[in-house]
Amino acid sequence: MKVLSLLIFFFSSLFVGETTVSTGYQPGDKATDFKLKGVDGKMVSMSDYKDAKGFIVVFTCNTCPFAVKYENRINDLAKKYKKQGYVLLAINPNDPAVQPDDTYELMQAKAKDKKFAFPYLVDEGQKIYPQYGATKTPHVFLLDKNLVVHYIGAIDDNVDDASAVKEKYLENAIAALDKGEAPSPAVTKAIGCSIKAKKKS
């Protein structure tokens, strides 16, 4: 009997995990705008960028090994696509009470140290990432100027070595969006650390 109840507990916990994964945006959905505080203290919304052709929203954080390995690539993407009219916005979704490496002060230090060329925003109260359906850091969402989602997932196919990348998923998706085509793939698996949610009391 004990085994059975344990089994039920186990599968019910699995089920909870699955339902949280299946929510969030799919390509074609309209994403919500936000108003989040950046490391310079200013509030940032997508509606601030009247002339943007689209938005690259990256959920990322300070110390997840995957996020760290992608830092320079994210910075390069921000610079490259700014010139083409696409705005990259990074959002740190982690609860600093669970992940002490992700406090606002440490975000400021990171942005300064790595010379981030993009707004690095705090998802205060963790209200935005669940709406997007982000689960990892890094996890990218490519939106057009009307905030319709065109691509969700990973930046490319090699976290360890930028020079060994075979498929640049995000850049290919931006190129497709720019030409008015549907990206293929429009969804990849974002590989990284799980987002650290506030502990339920």
Binding site: V3, L6, L7, F9, F10, S13, L14, G17, E18, V21, P65, T135, K136, G153, A154, D157, N158, V159, D160, D161, A164, K166, Y169, P185, T188, K189, A190, I191, G192, C193, S194
Partner: protein
Amino acid sequence: MKKIYVLLFLLAGNLLLQAQEIKVYEKFDAFQKEVLKANDTIYVINFCATWCGPCIKELPHFEKLHTDNKKVKVILVSLDSRKDLEKKLIPFVKKKKITAEVLLLSDKDYNTWLPKIDKNWSGSIPATLILMGKQQLFAETDFESYEQLNTFVTSFIHPNN
């Protein structure tokens, strides 16, 4: 003085014998061929990494399964980077005194190989695969206790209990 050298030599030899050799698979296909296609016993394959907190937490349960349950073969598949083998993975295995088999799968093209393990795998770890021939059971979750892990394994071996 000579004695010290002999002692050091013996000590070094002893350490080498104790440390397990970690096999490296740089491509998923090779891992699939050698590990996933083996059908001599029930395999419990745990995907983990030295940087993954929840993985480290559940590691003792897998080590206990390895020592206590002789019906299954436990394999810990580290998804660390190839370059972290010497400076992170090997010292980690030594420090945690892991006796279950550890191997390194450093293929970073996750979007190609994750679906070959389970099409619904989002890519988070820890994740665990139980395998016997063509039968398999996959869970993208961590085990909070040995009992929970054991229940999962038992549900594979005796699905009707």
